[in-house]
Amino acid sequence: MKFLDTVTISKIANLRLRVKSVVEGSLAGLHSSSLKGHSLEFAQHREYSPGDELRRIDWKVFGRSDRFFIKQYQDETNLRAHIVLDASGSMRFAAEGRETKLSYAATLAASLSYLLLRQGDAVGLSVFDETFRFHVPPSHQLSHLSTLIGKLENTSAGGDTDIVAVLRDMGQHIRRRSLVIVISDLLGDDAGVIKALKYFRFRHHEVIVLQVLDPHEIRFPYDGEHAFVHLERKEQVFADGEAVAREYRRIFGRFLAGYKSGFRQAGIDYRMVTTDMPFESALCLK
């Protein structure tokens, strides 16, 4: 598998994805249900991981196998997660031989899928550029992972971005309360993006935004005169990198700060990751 090799899996295996608010679901997982009065019918065992309540450990199984397992019951709800991946042209950007933002984002998406599925949560995947390219509905079967990874492997960066329209469209189609994970460089209309994601929150969805950027987009470490060519539209701008760097950094910093404060006010988890960061630290959402 291109995005989820053994090294990556070993790095992220011990991670748990926790969601702040209460979600509704049909399978018991790490998330408490908002629905009351369900039966306590046993559903399955799951290996213990640090943080699990000790009282849930099945001591009988421990006696037999000398390993910790916890019991999962049917009345503990599971999570429906929608991973929304940006595959626009700007995601193709990579500098100094690093992997592209899209590649990095796809790896993040695969990792998240793996984590969520392993936790027993249902994971769906949507890939967009100007519009939705495809949508894989959520499923909690572990075998669903190979489907998702297969889709991610076939995803390549496309044309122009219209993230605002895509998010608005998606917001109207997700009915059940879910976890929406947006992985994008967010190089669009920042106010529109924040507004669209606020709508998700309005619909009681949990939202996590992972903004993927290349370090060069932040530092702008170019010297001398260059023709900067737009990845999506093939437009170009002549500029002395050294001369504009200072002002660029100021403007770009303000742009990022706008996202940061906008998401904080909307109660949206936001994290900016750069393609030179290790995946495990990129996934440490808390």
Binding site: D185, I218, R219, H226, A239, V244, R249, G253, M272, T274
Partner: protein, 673 residues
């Protein structure tokens, strides 16, 4: 000003300074392409910095080019020099010192005259200049007083020459000195300088008709910053005899620069070596002042001086005068018929008028020295005497009375009328007062011509240019006036005795004849003419005489062609002309204040630059001038200054290349993340 280099071979590296420009142009045309995710941030940044960016880029380009240029210059070791463009260091320096000795240089500054200070500076310059420097010296006033034959290296000779230089009483003409300097430098290299040691007053720089190009050389002209100064001077003193009060009155006029500087000064009047009184000058506005003093003497001639006290240039504070009373000039009576004595003599009445005058016979004429001013009175003369003609031509006066001897061919060239036949009819005299200026000197109402009876005389026919002063009843001229050479001649148709008319017995005779002699004598060097300026020669017709200078030195003045010429009028004062052991005349010599020499207003640098036609003019300060002087002549090494400028440029480059101290981009990114 020019720049020369000690290591000019480094100048081949000058094109290196164009490197930033080349790099700029090269990279400007070939920008590399970089794909980027979003251009709107770059566009926004560009929008904000666009104006400042271009300016900053050009400034940086300029600074970098200049830095490289200065770096090349630094290795070439530049020397800043004045003048002598293209002169090689190896060629010896030639210097001409012009030392002003005009009387304005006697101005006292700090207990020392300016000429003495100039001499000190000249000695110091000899000390400062390298031994191989070729030096010439010209001491000048309105002429070249002393000069070395050519520039040379003999310092002892120059020092001795400087010691002999004394201030003169002459005015300043720097043009003449510069012409001499130009001549001195004609054979020298173009690495030359002219050093003017003068008070740099504007009066010394007026008489320039040509500009000084120094024969197509570029010469450094070095002078000291003029210090100006307040000064008052006497521009003229004149004595007039007041006929009504029977005494001499001395009038004096003076000037002050700047106006008002005369306030607080006083005037002292000296006559014949004795102080006669003091007075305060009267301001007349525009810097003019005046004074007047009655001497209380009725002497025939008077001499002395007026002295102003109150400033620091004493030389022009004294003005001399020597005046002879009009009509008091020497007279000689020549009687053509001296055989008869007593009242019958032709010259009897004339002798009464001039008791100190000798009566000469015609035979004595060739033995007598007739000096101008003077009047000869000819009475019934028979012969034409060339010596008398020469005397009249030179400016002497002649009063001629005709008589019976005069009809025998007396016809000298200076006669204003031809002598005709004798008339014997009694006639009266009429004055022609409206036409003849001479008659304005007399009160003619007391000269009643109708009471003058002329029984006999000659019929006169006035020559062209002659004028009739008086006529007879018949209309024939009685007195005819004319000029000959520089002299005046008055011809009377009748005698000076009572034989042919009654005029000698009339009361008007004495004042009339004396008045005529005064008039005829006034045509000669009088009070005005014997007031000379320093350097002007004194001329006088006559034979050998001696002149006694104000210092008491007697100089024998030979006569040539009937004229004596005395040229040694270098000192102001009263000069006495002595002939045959007797003083016959005094004349006064004064400074030429009309030239403006006493006005110490300084010349402007702009005027000097115009004058020297593009040659660099450097004014040194009065104090601590040595360092600047040497830098002007030998050049100033500006390598240190270059290092300083490069350092400043380097700092500027850093500032412009890094407009603000910014954290490491990685740190910036870390903070954003």
């Amino acid at each position: 000003m020019s720049i020369t280099f000690l290591n000019p071979q480094f100048m081949w590296l000058l094109p290196v300074s164009a490197l930033p420009l080349v790099i700029h142009l090269f990279y400007r045309k070939r920008p590399g392409k970089i794909e980027f995710s979003d251009l709107r941030f770059i566009r926004a940044a560009l929008e904000r910095i666009r104006a400042g960016l271009r300016l900053r880029r050009y400034i940086l380009l300029f600074i970098r080019t200049l830095l490289l240029l200065l770096l090349v210059c630094f290795f070439a070791r530049p020397l800043l020099r004045f003048g002598a463009v293209g002169a090689r260091e190896a060629s010896p320096l030639s210097v001409v010192l012009l030392l002003d000795t005009s009387y304005s240089m006697r101005y006292e500054d700090g207990g020392m005259s300016r000429v003495e200070r100039a001499r000190q500076v000249a000695r110091r310059i000899l000390d400062l200049l390298p031994r191989q420097t070729r030096i010439g010296l010209i001491a000048y006033s309105d002429r070249v007083e002393t000069a070395t034959p050519s520039p040379g290296n003999d310092r002892n000779y120059l020092l001795r020459l400087i010691d002999t230089i004394r201030p003169t009483s002459r005015t300043t003409n720097t043009a003449r000195a510069l012409a001499a300097a130009e001549q001195l430098l004609s054979g020298e290299s173009s690495n030359a300088a002219v050093i003017v040691l003068s008070d740099m007053a504007a009066h010394g720089f007026r008489d320039f008709n040509t500009k000084f190009g120094f024969r197509d050389k570029r010469i450094r002209v070095i002078a000291f910053t003029p210090s100006g100064g307040q000064n008052c001077w006497l521009a003229g003193a004149h004595a007039d005899f007041d006929e009504s009060a029977e005494h001499w009155v001395v009038d004096v006029k003076g000037r002050a620069s700047p106006a008002g500087a005369a306030a607080g000064g006083s005037l002292a009047y000296f006559v014949e070596g004795q102080k006669k009184g003091n007075d305060f000058p009267v301001e007349r506005g525009n810097g003019l002042f005046a004074g007047r003093f009655s001497v209380g003497s009725a002497a025939e001639d008077v001499s002395g001086y007026v002295e102003y006290a109150g400033d620091r240039l004493l030389e022009d504070n004294r003005h001399y005068f020597a005046v002879r009373r009009p009509g008091a000039c020497p007279a000689w009576i020549i009687d053509g018929d001296p055989r008869f004595g007593g009242a019958s003599a032709e010259s009897f009445y004339l002798k009464m008028l001039f008791p100190r005058t000798c009566v000469l016979a015609e035979s004595d004429v060739d033995k007598t020295a007739f000096t101008v001013p003077g009047v000869v009175i000819l009475a019934n003369v028979r012969d034409d005497h060339p010596r008398l003609e020469q005397f009249v031509k030179a400016g002497g006066g002649a009063l001629i009375f005709l008589g019976n001897h005069s009809g025998d061919g007396f016809a000298p060239a200076y006669l204003p009328a031809e002598i005709g036949s004798i008339f014997t009819t009694r006639q009266n005299v009429f004055w022609n007062e409206e036409k003849r200026e001479v008659l304005s000197r007399f009160p003619l109402e007391g000269f009643d011509g109708g009471k003058i009876e002329v029984d006999s005389g000659f019929v006169l026919r006035p020559r062209e240019g002659a004028g009739v002063v008086a006529t007879l009843t018949s209309g024939w001229p009685f007195i005819v006036e004319g000029a000959y050479g520089s002299g005046k001649v008055m011809l009377c148709a009748s005698t000076a005795s009572r034989q042919w008319n009654n005029m000698p017995t009339r009361p008007m005779f004495a004042p009339f004849i004396k008045g005529l002699c005064g008039y005829l004598g006034a045509a000669q060097p009088s009070a005005e003419k014997v007031m000379l300026k320093v350097g002007e020669p004194f001329r006088r017709s006559g034979s050998v005489a001696e002149v006694e200078t104000p210092a008491g030195r007697r100089v024998k003045v030979p006569a040539s062609g009937g004229e004596m010429l005395f040229q040694d009028t270098e000192d102001p004062g009263i000069y006495r002309v002595i002939s045959a052991g007797r003083e016959i005349l005094k004349f006064a010599v004064n400074l030429d204040t009309d030239s403006g020499e006493s006005d110490l207003a300084p010349v402007s640098l702009a005027a000097l630059k115009r004058l020297f036609a593009g040659n660099p003019v450097i004014l040194l300060p009065g104090q601590d001038w040595e360092k600047r002087f040497m830098s002007v002549l030998a050049g100033t090494d500006i390598t240190r200054a270059l290092i300083l400028v490069m350092l400043v440029l380097f700092l500027a480059e850093i500032i412009f290349a890094n407009p603000a101290v910014e954290r490491n981009p990685r740190e910036v990114a870390g903070k954003i993340i």
